[in-house]
Symmetry: D2
Subunit: 382 residues, 4 copies
Amino acid sequence: MKRKIRMGMVGGGPGAFIGAVHRIAANLDGLIELVCGCFSSHPEKSLATGRALFLPDDRIYASYQEMIEREAALPEGERMDFVSIVTPNHVHFGPAMLALEKGFHVVLDKPMTFTLDEALRLRDKVKETGKLFMLTHTYTAYPMVKEARERVRRGDLGKIRRIYVEYPQGWLYSDSEDKKGAWRVDPSRSGKAGCMGDIGTHAFNLAEYITGLRAVELCGELNTFVPGRSLDDDGAALIRYEGGAKGVLTASQIAVGVENGLNIRVYGEKGGLEWRQEEPNTMILRWPDRPMEIIRTSNGYMSGIAAWNTRVPAGHPEGYIEAFANLYRNFALALDAVLAGEEPDPRTLDFPSVEEGVRGMSFIEAIVSSGDTESKWIKIAN
Amino acid sequence: MKRKIRMGMVGGGPGAFIGAVHRIAANLDGLIELVCGCFSSHPEKSLATGRALFLPDDRIYASYQEMIEREAALPEGERMDFVSIVTPNHVHFGPAMLALEKGFHVVLDKPMTFTLDEALRLRDKVKETGKLFMLTHTYTAYPMVKEARERVRRGDLGKIRRIYVEYPQGWLYSDSEDKKGAWRVDPSRSGKAGCMGDIGTHAFNLAEYITGLRAVELCGELNTFVPGRSLDDDGAALIRYEGGAKGVLTASQIAVGVENGLNIRVYGEKGGLEWRQEEPNTMILRWPDRPMEIIRTSNGYMSGIAAWNTRVPAGHPEGYIEAFANLYRNFALALDAVLAGEEPDPRTLDFPSVEEGVRGMSFIEAIVSSGDTESKWIKIAN
Amino acid sequence: MKRKIRMGMVGGGPGAFIGAVHRIAANLDGLIELVCGCFSSHPEKSLATGRALFLPDDRIYASYQEMIEREAALPEGERMDFVSIVTPNHVHFGPAMLALEKGFHVVLDKPMTFTLDEALRLRDKVKETGKLFMLTHTYTAYPMVKEARERVRRGDLGKIRRIYVEYPQGWLYSDSEDKKGAWRVDPSRSGKAGCMGDIGTHAFNLAEYITGLRAVELCGELNTFVPGRSLDDDGAALIRYEGGAKGVLTASQIAVGVENGLNIRVYGEKGGLEWRQEEPNTMILRWPDRPMEIIRTSNGYMSGIAAWNTRVPAGHPEGYIEAFANLYRNFALALDAVLAGEEPDPRTLDFPSVEEGVRGMSFIEAIVSSGDTESKWIKIAN
Amino acid sequence: MKRKIRMGMVGGGPGAFIGAVHRIAANLDGLIELVCGCFSSHPEKSLATGRALFLPDDRIYASYQEMIEREAALPEGERMDFVSIVTPNHVHFGPAMLALEKGFHVVLDKPMTFTLDEALRLRDKVKETGKLFMLTHTYTAYPMVKEARERVRRGDLGKIRRIYVEYPQGWLYSDSEDKKGAWRVDPSRSGKAGCMGDIGTHAFNLAEYITGLRAVELCGELNTFVPGRSLDDDGAALIRYEGGAKGVLTASQIAVGVENGLNIRVYGEKGGLEWRQEEPNTMILRWPDRPMEIIRTSNGYMSGIAAWNTRVPAGHPEGYIEAFANLYRNFALALDAVLAGEEPDPRTLDFPSVEEGVRGMSFIEAIVSSGDTESKWIKIAN
């Protein structure tokens, strides 16, 4: 790389957890510099945030429209290369479409859009413009998740039979977040699913990513345990995958006391694997006739793609921020190649795309339908 | 107790894992003596087993009918007090009914019978005769499971919302057991369910035992992954409990490399608990606003019922055999009181009864029906 | 076996934890019957205990001398075959010597004697009489500890370099036990070491057992943290083993909140192993260039000697009582052969002998000396 | 902060693990910018590294002397604010002294110097110049380590009695690193201790940091297991702390298969704590009469100082890089205040100082002496 990649940000103002994480992740490897942003729909908040990030006032914008228009008008050596959109779900589609139209590459938080229809339109726009597009499904950026996928792909587990993927959390066990007006529990900002949109999509994506299998139909139930809440705070589904594998997906935000318990277990004809996000550098491999193995990141026996996404020696734990930084590092390296008119290293393109975004919205569509019907199996269409 | 309780055994011949465990469990506390048995339908095998157990030849029988008849004819100070039936499922009902009719108390392995109809008839017979009847659902005899139930009962967790109960095993991941003719994979000896009858019933029972909630309907799917197998070797169900709690139950015998992974997680409005059979002396308690606690058997903070079912100080692990022995010890103490015409200590009556047996058979009936239909929810009738 | 082996017991009266455990362990496999006992130095307590164990009054004795004399006078088909001595340390030597002299085989709790001198004399007596003698170092009877020794013996780990063995407990963190007059904290009953005699000896024995290496010298420090206590309640030592391996041994009874944390880690030139008593069915194997392995009891890959000491399938946890019962089962099987004039199966002779008892007393001697001196290295003499 | 803090770097050229980590740590929070460096004693390597880090050629230097001189000559708004020195041990003292003399603040890797004498002289220089000085003992920057110190400080554990601190690693189990000429095994670059200098100092520092107790004397042994190696690759020591607490410290680089196993256990009169670096977001608290607690970073019950050093919500694991970044973030914030002539927030000054550096060198001095003598106890002098 000859220079740092230039990032603009939409969202991520005061108190926004995920925006701050995006910035840390983009900083970490020293490959990206934040050059501009519209951090809030309140201009004064946007300005304050931008200044605290050492941005000059003329690169701090009051609306995403203004930002995209004015950045597009800057000379090539100065304007942002890509925009990172870290707003609530209902403000994903607008800035993403506009940025693509104005020639910017895009990073977008998940779930991709507010509706499946928006997702399909965004997919078309990405294809039409040919811009790089990354959806920040962080959990698949852990080196051990990449190792899991690699092991399945090369056949270590044999044909996959059984998938258990779970995403329990406890932080919404009472209505205190609802009273604070958190957007994740508000259908006008979150979309038609609550828990399933926020974290069920991660679980769904993780299972498809690791196994390489496409879910074809599901039978589920959504629950709202906290009185007065509008959206689901819990749910479960039986899932049928192509080729005959069977899955159970659960997601809950009322599993009181559980922090961020995403985990997956996959069993094939020849072996099994088990991974837990809260201890991400460890994976259990199970075999029928020999001892279970504990594999750990940064060891010599790890695959190339896992090593590529690792920074420190074995025993020096890497975590959520490093996984997030893997997304940004790979995106920056791929974008650097694209900007130079070169073919990106395939390892750098291993980030979630607009297709994963469409899958997530299709999953939401299916599970919400399933929760509303007495029909047993609902297709996951797109 | 003035004397040891006298046990007869039906089943448990050469190579029978569970029969040997029953005998060890009955031996452990020195309260029960084995006085007779019909250990196999092959008279010579029965004789060899009985002799190896130091029984005199005249108390080793060639058929359960012969045993029950002849024991009934012995004087009261000599004949067995109860019979323990440890045969394959299709030979549960016959000896149990006969023993009850002839005045013997009965211990029976699970699942209780071959069909739900047999279960209902056996329940009637137990009620009619007033004999003590114990079903050996071992897992609910662990002290920590009793603690779990106690904590739910006294309201530590608040109203229960969410139950996850899982029973993964891997030993039937290939067809090697089928080829050996193991009875668990043979519908003529096992009944209409395979995995769900063998271990799904344990999971179902564990959840109802701990939460005190009755499952009312389920939506499930049974799978047979190993080619050529007649019965299910895997399955999952969404379950609705009375009062609005929701459950997910999974059971699998093709989770390759997993040993005996029964586990349960229960979350209520105020707290959660998590228990794994493979590390049975430990339970995790989760709370919304304070650190999770790890409780361990034999500590002073444990409830009375857990302490009653514990033998050694904290840190001296107790396991499966001790849990099994808890069943026999409680049964022996209760039976001693009954034989003396006294009221048993309530703690000794805390063992699975014929009602749990009927519940298990109802669960099998429902999950098999669910697997065969496109209707979403199936009632668990009895 | 043609008949059960007949056991007498010295000690194990009301409230004695370890005596009850010895009886359970002896019961478990149905190979041993308790035929007589002197359970307390208070005759009425002895009688009450014996009756509760269903013994006839004429086999319940008021002193160990009376018991041994009168049993020796019984006809061969009736008298006890061996005596199990489960008294406090200062009453080990007397009954053991007398029993050997009168022709009985002996089981004795650890540490073997009150002084090293007694230990040496007892060793001579065992050799002289040729009777079977077992010291109940329970922890080496776990199947996984046998596996560990086997793996070291066959060279999987290469030449051993480094041994860490720890035995932390917390139950003596305050003086409440001292006030109750517990014998373990009383030098007139426990011997010259407290913590090191009670549990340090277990740790010392475990390390020598697994590695097959003899400790030659140590540099240690004993501590008494609880005010008013006469004996050590904590200590640590650097240990030098034959062949150049180095060890660190720690034992503590003031590690508040720790239950029974005996654990060992051994590293050789080619691999390492780690085992914790509180999760006894699991062992970690570490390798330089491939994933660590978790081995678990009852799996097909376990060695023959581990399988011999296991009763139930993988995933059905076995614990402390089963380990204790392994001692008794092996002793009973060996004794049966001896009584029949046959050579015992070598697997049955794998129990701690009088030599281990002497080693333990030598260790106590050395560590107490080390704590009293400014000399750095103290030989472990015998 | 009005602007980013400007960092220069000495060391961290091609293949240097720790230099890259320093840069990542400095990048992470976006508070520091790298403005210059001398990355290697080979000018062409220094140039290549600097260019890859997007530095202009005129800020890439061929020697640390040149860098410090020329940076000092730059105008205030341009020159570096501090220098980060990440060279092997024998090149710590020179650049640190020069930088301080020329008015720069200093970040230095551990162990602080090549000899104790250098350490004392460096301490004097820091005092004399009044510059900010940070030693990068990373492990005490984990939020959970800060929590541990806080809990000890506020008396939760009562008076401390027993400290176990261990630092096992396995990567030097064979001579392959020696053959590669790694500086850590070379006395001319590493200093008089190998394992004890590299990682023993971390363990020593961690124990003093958490307990707030000063070690006063030790009795230790150093070992060199790998043939041909000049420095210790393993060792252990008994340690006596002020106030009567007793410690055992072990460090090993031949614990084959162990990754980076730093861990500590501390027991006081009222409670205990246990922490493992490889799972850094978790700490076990043990109590005599109530359940052990598992505390986890980012929960509401954590202390203010832990929260200050945390970036993401509970269940999103933070690791080694985040701990390292805590050092740099706190240093940058403190330096910003110093540069503005203000009093730094005390929370930002919670990083290892030149005093910790002197303590580490005193520890090395004492343990090496102890290894060479038959005297039992060696004072830790400074």
